[in-house]
């Protein structure tokens, strides 16, 4: 079985409310019980409640697999980058260092790299990944491109990322504002920017700037 070609994964940080339903649900998988494969990032809690859920982006040419000395990481034909194969993985951590999105984790006690495999046990048999099923804000969504265009007319999916000279395309899409001129998301150029999401002044003290 394989993940149906028409189905794609969409992340919309604009919608995320930081509730951790995805994190808690991911822990329930029988293949990694008790461990979550989702990183829920608080951008800067002092400034904002903004959070971003990060799953494996399932790169078309996965850097993690390219740097793996044991050839333990495989990408199946349906575009899913599988978790490391236990008999091969030597827990060297090359993948952890190399992944531009910071996704894989090495679990020392199990001598194994683990990461999101898009709930292959579910998605390969026609179900949605668990995190996208439970996500109360649908910041994590699994469906067809037609469906996302109909449901989210204010944004559009982007799956091309630029890290310096490295261009990466992925099976997982990030939703960006529809009017954005970008054809790709330039990650490095945003890394040293001072903005940490939308900051809204409460406008309750003299001198507080009002939101525009």
């Amino acid at each position: 079985m394989a993940v149906a070609e028409a189905y794609e994964f969409f992340i919309d940080p604009n919608r995320c409310i930081g509730c951790q339903a995805c994190v808690q649900a991911c822990q329930e998988c029988d293949t990694h019980k008790g461990h979550t494969m989702i990183h829920l990032e608080f951008i800067d809690r002092a400034d904002s409640v903004q959070t971003v859920p990060v799953v494996c982006m399932h790169c078309d040419t996965p850097t993690c697999a390219e740097v793996c000395p044991a050839d333990a990481i495989k990408r199946t034909d349906d575009g899913v980058v599988q978790s490391a194969r236990k008999p091969r993985c030597i827990a060297c951590g090359n993948c952890v260092l190399a992944c531009p999105f910071g996704v894989p984790e090495v679990h020392i006690e199990e001598q194994l790299m683990m990461k999101c495999d898009m709930c292959y046990d579910r998605s390969s048999v026609g179900k949605k990944p668990m995190c996208t099923t439970v996500c109360p804000s649908q910041a994590l969504h699994f469906g067809t491109r037609e469906e996302i265009q109909r449901l989210r007319p204010r944004s559009r999916p982007s799956n091309t990322f630029q890290f310096g000279h490295q261009t990466i395309t992925t099976k997982v899409n990030m939703m960006i504002p529809i009017q954005s001129p970008s054809t790709r998301i330039d990650v490095l150029s945003a890394m040293h920017a001072s903005t940490t999401g939308r900051r809204i002044a409460l406008a309750v003290l003299p001198g507080d700037a009002f939101p525009v």
Partner: protein
């Protein structure tokens, strides 16, 4: 004698809260369950559909239920981890008797002996002091069958007027306001109607943390063009990306509503035709709000004038809209006025009873809606009937087969009930589904009252903080151990299905109540053999009332993913019909049993009521001595008093300890940095917690979540001031002061959840 029998730490050591984690049998069993049971989450008022995985009479996990239309498989972290409350080390599997000689303070007792003891103590108290010396308290997390039975048990078996429920802390301001304005206490429309609305106004609801699934409805409405207005003293996750944020000063919501209505009238952005044809009382309201100029409204509400103008413009010009509110505007000593202020905006716009036009409160508890309909409330009889109304009394007395003269009159709200205990007027208490030692305001007073009881019996599945005071604890049932109906926040009546049998000596709560009635020698009307039999009587008792369930059956619920009440069994002429239920209220031309065709609203003339919603400051305003506003609320991973969620390991790990949220400006004034220990002190109590210094709260306000107990309980500080109509306590605003502190001693002995 209802004091805690031994040193508290010994009680905690034996009865918790301890943490349940997804290991042990659950981990190894994993894999294939014996069965999947379609039911609903046990926590909040949204009542998300969920499938529980069951193996060997144990709930071992969950599977989303994507067909259920409200949540379509979506769940918050509490729903995901709710399965861990079963098979818990703290689960009560026998009756317990208070025993100061036992190390843990309690000894197991055979169930029949415990029932006999409870009956003899109730009989003794009532013989010595009169029937009214006995009281019962129940809750809105129970099924409607149990809520109905608790109201009947108090009036028919205990023969006392003194019964009330924990919905007093949740939905009563909304209920009272709805009844005054619409004549019925219910949201007007299903949530799906939001999608297609032009403007959605959310007043005082931290939707992302308290009703997370509602988030997708809001965001989907926004995708389809809705503007979202959020009114809250804190910039919550739902406010982060809203279109207009109104950072209202706690306790000033009604001023804000008055100012908005004044601006709408000034711009003539009101629906004259609707107001003339369908409402009464507009002129008086218009006269009152006339003084609420934008400048004055801004000064009182703490929201900048141009933001108020923008809100009035959007709300005034919209063709379709939804207004929702929750505890943020309801938990006030003028909670009903706040609600009426919000409703006035809706009525002036004329936007109810039509597609994509809705209004309603977001109920808190699992059966927050159903639990307030069928008579466990001190002034109420089933079907939203009134215990002071002679016709209503006669009808329900007939159903219960008692002389109307035997039916007690109205009792008192649960806070007043504790004051009666304090004054020695109530000597005995039976409590189920209520943890007032954590959840009531000024809870050091509640502890003092519990200590004064001559006899206290608690029915519970875990030994709650309140249960520690009990003389006898009877082991009741978890939600998944019984069946019955609840009405979720849209007034959709749904079915809770049993997944497992109660363990050990534990049994369904309604059986326990009936066992007590039998042992008292008062079994009249308390001899149901099943939950379904109770429901069938509830249908008759509600027939002809506003909350008419007579046309609802369990089968109809299952076949339709729920039925929206009212659902009568006969048409206006009395002919039997198969009614489909009523998703949307107040449609033009609709019939109801009060207006009888005169109009869509539930008054004899069929018209809705504008009510003057006058501003009064909070009962305890800030002053030089206590200069900071304290407000309280929730976090997403915990639920209410935490009896269940403080026992679920992964939920405790998500947000282990309560934090006090402080704006950097206020923090700097006191030399407080993020993670520093801070003492907050009010006229009633003190608490020491770590600071969370954030820009997302008003600088004049601090926030503490209320789910924790004892020294970590926010309600040590809150004020027991109540709304004069609804009697809801003022959890959302009181005065406090803060100072930097050292790490408190409790950190050495108590775990996070304890």
């Amino acid at each position: 004698m209802a004091t805690i029998p031994v040193d508290l730490l010994h009680v905690i050591q034996r009865y918790g809260p301890h943490l349940s984690i997804g290991t042990g049998p659950r981990h190894t069993q994993g894999g294939e369950p014996d069965k999947l049971v379609k039911t609903h989450c046990c926590f909040c008022g949204q009542q998300c559909g969920i499938q529980l995985k069951v193996k060997d009479n144990e709930v071992i996990g969950f599977e989303p239920w994507e067909d259920f239309p409200f949540n379509k498989g979506m769940l918050c972290p509490k729903g995901v981890k709710r399965y861990l409350q079963g098979s818990h080390p703290d689960r009560l599997v026998t009756a317990l008797a208070r025993d100061p000689a036992a190390t843990s303070g309690f000894s197991p007792m055979a169930y029949p002996d415990a029932i006999a003891r409870v009956a003899s103590e109730i009989a003794r108290i009532q013989k010595t002091y009169g029937n009214d010396a006995m009281a019962s308290l129940s809750g809105a997390s129970l099924t409607s069958e149990k809520c109905y039975l608790m109201g009947k048990f108090a009036r028919v078996c205990l023969k006392t007027p003194y019964t009330d429920y924990n919905g007093r802390l949740c939905m009563v301001s909304a209920g009272a306001g709805n009844k005054k304005a619409f004549g019925i206490d219910r949201v007007t429309s299903p949530w799906e109607e939001m999608i297609g609305s032009e403007v959605i106004w959310v007043a005082g609801s931290n939707v992302a943390e308290c009703a997370p699934i509602t988030t997708n409805y809001l965001w989907q409405a926004r995708e389809m063009g809705a503007k979202i207005i959020i009114q809250d003293p804190r910039l919550t996750p739902i406010a982060r990306t809203c279109d207009l944020f109104l950072p209202v000063k706690p306790g000033r919501d009604v001023a804000l509503f008055a100012g908005i209505l004044n601006l709408m009238i000034e711009k003539d952005a009101i629906d004259h035709d609707f107001i003339n044809a369908n409402t009464v009382g507009f002129e008086k309201v218009a006269e009152y709000v006339h003084d609420w100029t934008p400048a004055r409204t801004a000064e009182v509400s703490g929201v900048a004038e141009h933001l108020l103008r923008k809100a009035a413009e959007w709300w005034g010009e919209a063709k379709t809209s939804f207004l929702m509110h929750a505890r943020g505007i309801e938990h006030h000593s003028h909670g009903v006025a706040n609600v009426l202020g919000a409703i006035n905006l809706v009525l002036a716009s004329g936007r109810v009873g039509k597609a994509h036009c809705g209004y309603g409160t977001i109920t808190g508890q699992a059966n927050g809606q159903g639990g307030r309909e069928h008579g466990q409330k001190c002034d109420q009889l089933p079907g939203l009937r009134d215990i002071s109304n002679p016709e209503h009394r006669a009808y329900v007395s007939g159903v219960w087969n008692i002389d109307e003269k035997e039916l007690p009159g109205p009792g008192v709200d649960c806070v007043e009930l504790f004051r009666k205990i304090d004054r020695g007027e109530i000597k005995g208490l039976l409590a189920i589904c209520f943890n007032p030692k954590v959840s009531l305001p000024d809870n050091n007073f509640i502890t003092k009252c519990l200590n004064k009881l001559e006899f206290f019996v608690a029915i519970d599945f875990f030994l709650s903080e309140t249960g520690r005071h009990a003389d006898i604890v009877l082991p009741g049932s978890l939600q998944e151990e019984d069946e019955g109906v609840v009405a979720q926040l849209e007034a959709r009546v749904i079915k809770i299905n049993q997944a497992v049998e109660p363990p050990g000596e534990a049994r369904q709560d309604w059986r326990i109540i009936q066992d007590i009635a039998k042992a008292l020698g008062r079994p009249h009307g308390m001899t149901f053999n099943s939950s379904r039999e109770i429901f069938d009587e509830l249908r008759i008792a509600s027939k002809g009332g506003i909350a008419d369930y007579s046309g609802i059956t369990w089968e109809k619920i299952e076949a339709n993913y729920g039925i929206f009440w009212p659902c009568p069994s006969t048409d206006p002429q009395g002919n039997p019909i198969d009614h489909p239920g009523t998703p949307r209220l107040f449609e033009p031309g609709s019939w109801n049993p009060i207006a009888k065709g005169a109009g869509p609203f539930y008054f004899p003339d069929g018209k809705a009521r504008f009510n003057v919603a006058a501003y009064t400051p909070p009962t305890e305003d800030v002053d030089a001595e206590f200069p900071v506003i304290l407000t309280t609320g929730r976090v997403v991973s915990q639920f209410l008093s935490g009896t269940q969620t403080r026992r679920i390991g992964p939920l405790v790990a998500q947000f282990p300890d309560p934090r006090i949220e402080i704006h950097p400006i206020l923090a700097e004034k006191h030399g407080i940095r993020d993670n520093d220990w801070v003492t907050a002190e009010s006229r009633r109590g003190t608490i020491t917690l770590q600071a969370r210094v954030v820009l997302t709260i008003r600088p004049d306000t601090v926030f503490i979540p209320y789910h924790w107990a004892g020294v970590k309980s926010a309600n040590q500080l809150t004020i027991s001031a109540q709304d004069p109509i609804s009697k809801i306590p003022e959890y959302k605003v009181c005065a406090c002061r803060i100072r930097k502190a050292e790490a408190p001693a409790y950190t050495a002995t108590l775990e996070s959840q304890q």
